[in-house]
């Protein structure tokens, strides 16, 4: 807890998120890694897009940019290119980074700009009320797919690793693992992408039969396992690739 508050705008609490949302845990992990790596407002900028996760930036005591929907990556690239000394983080959701910002993700990973992209993947458009996103698994019932989603979920790992970039997957339940992954990404001097599986009970879990956010977290505990020295991560495996 010590130091955790130093980068948080406490005056702005409570957050806009639902109780039990995984976004808070992502902020916690991020701040703790920043603390231990001496990242502060003198050398770090955080950029986000639109959506629930997009509001993250407003709670941090850093220069933070809340951009347009899907445009977090190009803005971050502009900042990093104009001032290469800065550490630039992008924190945004799956809808923002993979759907509307998918093209930017593809090309940023090709250009290998040194930005750290943290994609909080709750598998749904949470802020707009539970529509199917590109990361929604097949056959899932959402408000826009009442008969079940007919498409496969997007393979972000393939997109990012096709250019030999850093890719890591973690969940909001495995907080220590998540911190380790963020730390690992800082060692990497290229484009880094960290997919954080998160929970959205009102938008997603409810329809799958969960009764609370807690149950969803316990499900992450059961489902996901940590893997080391893998060349490819399966859907329920956590770890990193480089």
């Amino acid at each position: 807890m010590q130091g955790y508050l130093s980068l948080l705008k406490i005056k702005r609490l409570p957050t806009t998120w639902c109780p039990g949302c995984g976004n808070g845990l992502v902020i916690k992990a991020l701040i703790q890694v920043m603390e231990s790596n001496n990242l502060n407002k003198k050398n770090t900028v955080i950029v986000s897009g639109i959506g629930c996760v997009g509001r993250t930036t407003g709670y941090l005591k850093l220069d933070s940019i809340h951009t347009l929907h899907g445009r977090a990556i190009p803005v971050a690239e502009g900042i990093k290119t104009a001032n290469p000394k800065l550490n630039v983080f992008v924190v945004s959701g799956d809808g923002d980074l993979l759907a509307i910002g998918g093209n930017h993700l593809l090309h940023a990973s090709r250009r290998k700009t040194n930005i750290k992209v943290i994609c909080v993947n709750n598998r749904i458009y949470g802020m707009t009320g539970g529509q199917a996103s590109p990361a929604t698994p097949k056959k899932t019932v959402t408000t826009t797919t009442p008969k079940g989603n007919e498409f496969e979920e997007i393979n972000t790992q393939a997109i990012v690793t096709s250019n030999k970039n850093f890719f890591a997957r973690s969940t909001v339940f495995h907080l220590d693992h998540l911190k380790k992954m963020i730390k690992k990404s800082l060692e990497n001097k290229d484009f880094s992408f960290i997919e954080v599986i998160s929970n959205c009970y009102p938008g997603y879990g409810k329809k799958l039969g969960f009764t609370s956010n807690y149950e969803m977290l316990m499900d992450f505990k059961k489902k996901f396992e940590n893997q080391k020295n893998k060349s490819i991560l399966k859907k329920n495996e956590l770890g990193f690739l480089k």
Binding site: S64, I65, T67, P74, T81, A82, N83, L86
Partner: protein, 344 residues
């Protein structure tokens, strides 16, 4: 004095202003701006589309660099959301729009003036843009510098309009003109705890539910633009001033019609937006007939009509077809009956 074309003049102006970043995507007829930038050593990012181009330019501007992007009509349409964003977070930026015939892909190599209204009203919501439209290569150079200065002074994006004709027109330009350069006042990011958000905001925190705060924001950005615009109420009033006809034309059309200056009075706005209401109103009062000639289906004409408060004559030049005898014949034949709004 050097012989350069319009696009290169824009680049020379940008270099003179200390532009440090260019985000772009190739598009006819604006591509040569990016090519020249690449030669001149300004940090260039060729992005995957125009949306990314303007957004990375905004990012670079946040990082403390004077940033610009250049495009044509279709790209400008894609950029519109980010134009509104730059107005919201109040970041300086210069957008060059080398116009071509639209809508859609239209006629890519032909000049047009179809983006006059897009430059003013393109993004959603209320904002007050500053738009310049020069009509010669040396003026493009001058107004590229002025655009950067205005963007820095007003802390907002400024649009510099050009067209396919000016872009490829070669003229001699004197590069040693005496214009002061306004330097960046804003503190770059990476040095504080500020929050830049597209949400309606007040002092670094979003206030998306507060109408009073929003109203004061809108009043402020409009006032800010008008203060800067007042310093640059640029227009040209030439020709035979004692004739009974005033021709209002701008950009490349004002060049084609310069042969008519012997017979008629000419008014050419350079600062397109905010509209030169007072200036044009005062001048138009002295003339029986006011004729607007432009390369679109009457975009600026309605603004002129609204200001001079009388019906006017309108000639359109569509599809890049420049037929000067036809226009001059038309002006000669005007009797004192004004055309209705939608007639030819």
């Amino acid at each position: 004095m050097i012989l350069i074309n319009g696009n290169l003049a824009v680049v020379k102006g940008a270099i003179k202003s200390g532009c440090g970043f260019f985000g772009g995507y190739p598009i006819t007829p604006a591509s040569s701006i990016m090519e020249e930038i690449a030669k001149d050593g300004i940090k260039l990012m060729q992005m995957e589309d125009e949306i990314a181009s303007i957004n990375c330019a905004i990012g670079a501007s946040l990082s403390g660099k004077k940033a610009m992007t250049a495009t044509s009509g279709p790209g400008f349409s894609l950029m519109q959301e980010a134009v509104g964003y730059a107005h919201m977070i109040e970041q300086p930026l210069v957008i060059v729009n080398v116009q071509r015939v639209g809508p859609a892909t239209g006629m890519p190599t032909k000049p047009s003036q179809g983006d006059i209204m897009q430059a003013k009203y393109g993004s959603h919501g209320d904002y007050c843009p500053l738009v310049f439209y020069p009509n010669s290569v040396s003026e493009l150079y001058e107004y590229a510098i002025k655009s950067f200065n205005c963007a820095e002074e007003a802390e907002m994006p400024v649009v510099l309009l050009s067209d396919a004709y000016l872009a490829n027109l070669y003229e001699t330009v004197n590069l040693d003109i005496d214009i002061g350069i306004v330097n960046r006042k804003l503190e770059p990011v990476g040095n504080g705890a500020r929050h830049y958000t597209g949400l309606s905001h007040q002092r670094n925190s979003p206030k998306p539910q507060n109408p009073r705060q929003y109203k004061s924001f809108i009043d402020r950005i409009f006032k800010k633009t008008y203060v800067i615009a007042k310093k640059h109420a640029d227009y040209e009033y030439t020709g035979k001033k004692d004739s009974d006809t005033l021709i209002v034309a701008y950009g490349c059309v004002s060049r084609f019609l310069s042969g008519l200056k012997k017979k008629y009075a000419f008014f050419r706005p350079i600062r397109m937006w905010p509209f030169l209401k007072k200036e044009l109103g005062k001048i138009a009062k002295n003339y029986k007939k006011v004729v607007v000639v432009e390369m679109n289906n009457g975009q600026y004409r309605r603004e002129v009509e609204r200001v001079i408060r009388k019906r006017l004559y309108f000639f359109r030049v569509l599809g890049g077809e420049i037929n000067i005898p036809k226009i001059s014949r038309g002006i000669r034949r005007i009797k004192c009956k004004a055309t209705s709004l939608y007639s030819k």
